[in-house]
């Protein structure tokens, strides 16, 4: 796998979710709790987000939810972020997070 690490944050007024994936060592930290993660699971995430735009922002809405995903390989950091606007398969992403 070419990915080194992935950082995910999801914020809404009720909860903050912070996920840090160490792809090289197949470890994930979810809100402070460490566990193992399979390459398959990481690839599943990449398959969900790979065609996302870098930014989805709607500043005409207050409250709601914001997210940020940073994917780091050897050369680049690809960032996807959003606030109250989401890619159409965002539910698939939330489901993936829930299954972690």
């Amino acid at each position: 796998m070419d990915i080194n690490s992935i950082k995910i944050t999801i914020k809404n007024m009720y909860q903050f979710t912070n996920i840090q994936i160490d792809a090289l060592n197949k470890k994930v930290n979810i809100n402070g709790k460490n566990k193992d993660i399979t390459l398959e699971k990481i690839e599943q995430l990449l398959g969900i987000i790979y065609l996302w735009k870098n930014e989805y922002i709607d500043n005409s809405k207050i409250d709601g939810e914001s997210f940020k995903i940073e994917v780091m390989d050897n050369e680049t950091v690809t960032t996807f972020k959003g606030k109250n606007k989401f890619p159409k398969n965002y539910n698939a992403f939330k489901k993936w997070v829930g299954e972690l």
């Binding site: 809404n12 007024m13 912070n18 809100n31 709790k33 065609l51 207050i62 390989d73 398969n89 489901k95």
Partner: protein
Amino acid sequence: MKNYDSEDTKEFYQFLDNLIRPREVINKKIPEIIEAFVDYYGEEMREKITDKFNNAIILFHIMPTQIKKCCQKASDGFKMHIYQKISNLLGLEFRLDPLFIDKLDNVYLSYLEKDNKQMIQDIIDLYDMQEYDISEIKEKISQINPLLNDIDDFENHVQKYIEIMSIPIDQINESYDDNILDDLAGILDIERKTYKIYFYLALIKQKDTFPKPIKDSLNKVKTLMDKYDSIYSSDFHYQLNLLEQKDLKIIEKIFGDLSGENDGLIESFSSIATQLLKDENTAKWIKKQIMQNRQEYLKTLNINIDEIDLQTLKNILPKEEDVDNLLDLKDTALLLAVKEIYNSMELHVKNLRDLKAQFPVYDEDYYALDGLNSTYLGWQITSVFKADDGLKEKGLIMIYQGKSIKHLDGTIIHELNHWLETTVYPYKEEDEIFNGYCGFDEMIGHIYKGEEEKPKLKHKEISYEKFNEIINEKITQEIVQKMHNNGIYIFNFPNYSNIKGSSDYEFYNFLIDEFYHEFKDIIIKSRQTGGVEKLKQEIDGESIEQLNEIINQCSDNIDALIDSDVTDYNQLANLLTEYKNISNLLFQQIKNKQTSKHKVKKLNNFN
């Protein structure tokens, strides 16, 4: 509704009934809500409050699954309420710990099984190591039984709602309680079925453009559909499920899952994917993913590229334009499905009618899209909608129930206060974007002109969002407290209402409490008359920026810790102390600068 002896029980039933007709409840309560806001802000604000709330519409974007969750929560809440009463009757302290609740559950089960002897034993268990009087317990059974009967009644009542919302349209029959059918007219659970139907219809429309394996699978679906008069019948869906498990795996793999949540392998041939492949700045992993998906597409269709020539391959590969059209069709199908669900639910029909009366250009598509998005947006949101129709901008307040129904009143007031504090700056006819502020937060939006392409919005780098929300929540809780003290409730009632604890925002009160109390009048005024820029004029701008920075930094560092499953409390305590000290220093700095400012002003006036 049944007549109940107990006032509490009556209130819970009313609460449940209100949950499924939120529009009626809100509309009825608006005059009282206006009075509550006027009571808080003062008579001089009456005109603005009334005008604002007359230009707002509160939508409850509820799907049947949400209502089910609400019913379950209400049922659990009612049970705990009765358990508390039973504990009090027995002279025991009611505790929410699982062991104690388990023991109460045992009492309830024994009651349902009409096992009096076991019930007495279960009650004795509640006393644990404490002393009890067996004759007193036996005497109290006659008071406990009716309370347990109330739980049973309530659960049966709730269960009927949940059942109604789970059955297909064609299976509702006369055996269901007429009253409940009337109450829930139109609320039916057709989510799963509707998405699938439209998805398949969209694909079948284009089936001749697909390679043979896909076309063959779609023909099987069409053949099945043709056999039924109604494609909503449960038998059709049963047969469709069987077909999917046997013959239609290829559809899901190629086109994505049937809820429309992901687009499958075919999206790797879209124009977006092709553009990313051509762009040298695209990350390697993205290019790799696109190529992998393309190869997997060919493999799924049993196409071996080593065995065919380039021209044949070119003919087999999906064309960019066709793929883009298909993905658009899928989006349309999803939208149609959501619209159909909303049109079948009385709640949403009323929502949309009210919306269109106030915002003529706001159509079904927007409503459906907002509904789709609000499954992602958390539980509540305030949105400004501005169309190019000469009418004032409007506030859309979208609320889901289910997360915290004990805080429902607070939820509504929180959003209404956001709307009250929203000001849109004047704009010209040719403008495409509107700007404004909501409290201390910036607001930017598109002016709806009916076009697809929207101009890109420029956002400020420094966010005052968290600062804004903390203050808004403080104000909200004060309004709700006053409102409830005056006997005004929207959905909640005295025995089922919480004011504090609705969000993480109040966690950060420690950073701004002193600042808020010292400068409350200036804070509240500036949120209505200029936002954070006004606040910076009234109170030293540099200090406000520093305070905002502290709030953002604190939030970034601490949010993860407070929601962590393994909080390092020492680390958290140290960080909190550090930030508290910094905010104290800042507060002193602000106070000193304000004092100097007043002294200078006095001197200038004197001179």
